[in-house]
Symmetry: C2
Subunit: 234 residues, 2 copies
């Protein structure tokens, strides 16, 4: 899955399917969908290390949200949300949160004496800014507690175009690989079928040979027996 | 291939790989590449019939040129290029030209007593309009004769995005189909291998049985022979 959303040669730190709750403050009907969340931490051509988070959907080619965070952006996030860890430690903390969301994603109800984690995509439409945040929310019987809120942006046509080209390339590579494997398997099947045919033919042939051989032995013995009987009569 | 570039459910009239000559009036080094040319003639949601021509490249996801021609556009083309046929007959004439280009695409030289057809993509960069024309050109030893010149437009990000989504969908469908076929073939191979193993085991088993049976027959006859000899001695 990594190759689908990864724009570099470095492998993603994390790429898993997670149930995402789509929350709209002005609409009461929340929806949820399974999306792929990919976390990368990489040094680009500008030699600047970036924390990159992507939301994609296998079934919806136009669903693509991204967050690119460099060390300066992170300073703001650290201040605004009271984060204590440094930039290098940040990706693993995000991944740990995502794993908590995966752990709890099939719990529809909150345990009475505990809490559950949920990943939410929140459209702040009421603020007229049309900003979208990805939130890790802990739901207890007491309240909704936002542990982390990351501003993500919906990709534009140009970005989706590039993303789809990578997905297409990846799918084409997979297809060609499978096609090769298929041909290999086909040849193996043909060869095995030929072996089976040969074995069956040999089986029949040998059976005939044994029958004929058997008749010969019986014939020879009958003859020897007759000769012996004749000798005895003389 | 149709599904890759077709935006409707109606099948394309024509979809073939053709060697396309990329001609730039200001650059002397012409290049050529194999592209897919797709011709559609369809009635869209606006109930207006359109002649649609698309140029795509399997290996270059961002290569997409399009021409959409309705009956009014066609009137201009008819007047400008002295075309005599009507709108409904136009697609077949274009297709016939494309087939001539395919027929001649491996002829590098012009026959001395004849001519050859070539499909060209011409960037009119020198006119500062940056227009691109798809031209069907007949090359004889005398001159280059343009039979048809169609103004095509390079697709923008939004169009390429939609085109790639369709290609991805099509490739995914193909992949899933192949994956099913692969699993089917795998089961068939496993079953055939099992048959072969069984047949080999039966073969060995029967061989042992025949050997033992044979020994029994020989043994019995030796005994009968001995008994007969003994009788003769008495």
């Amino acid at each position: 899955m990594d190759t689908i959303v990864s724009s570099s040669n470095q492998p993603a730190l994390f790429s898993r399917s997670i149930n995402l709750r789509i929350v709209s403050p002005i609409k009461s009907d929340d929806k949820s969908r399974n999306v792929y969340v990919t976390v990368e931490f990489q040094t680009g051509s500008s030699m600047q290390t970036e924390f990159i988070l992507k939301l994609t959907d296998e079934d919806d080619p136009f669903f693509l949200y991204e967050l690119h965070l460099n060390v300066d952006d992170f300073k703001n996030l650290k201040r605004d949300q009271g984060v204590l860890v440094d930039f290098n430690a940040f990706p693993q903390h995000v991944i740990d949160y995502l794993k908590l969301c995966i752990r709890d994603q099939h719990n529809e109800t909150t345990p009475s004496n505990g809490s559950r984690f949920q990943l939410q995509l929140v459209n702040d439409e009421q603020q007229f800014t049309n900003q979208t945040h990805l939130r890790v929310v802990e739901i207890s019987s007491f309240k909704h507690l936002t542990h982390l809120s990351l501003l993500v942006t919906s990709a534009n046509d140009h970005e989706i175009k590039n993303y789809l080209a990578r997905r297409l390339q990846s799918k084409t590579t997979d297809y060609n690989q499978l096609s090769n494997d298929f041909e290999k398997l086909k040849r193996e099947l043909e060869s095995t079928q030929l072996d089976l045919k040969e074995k069956t033919a040999n089986f029949q042939k040998l059976k005939l040979e044994w029958d004929s051989n058997n008749n010969q032995i019986v014939g020879r013995h009958m003859q020897e027996l007759a000769e012996e009987k004749e000798k005895a009569l003389q």
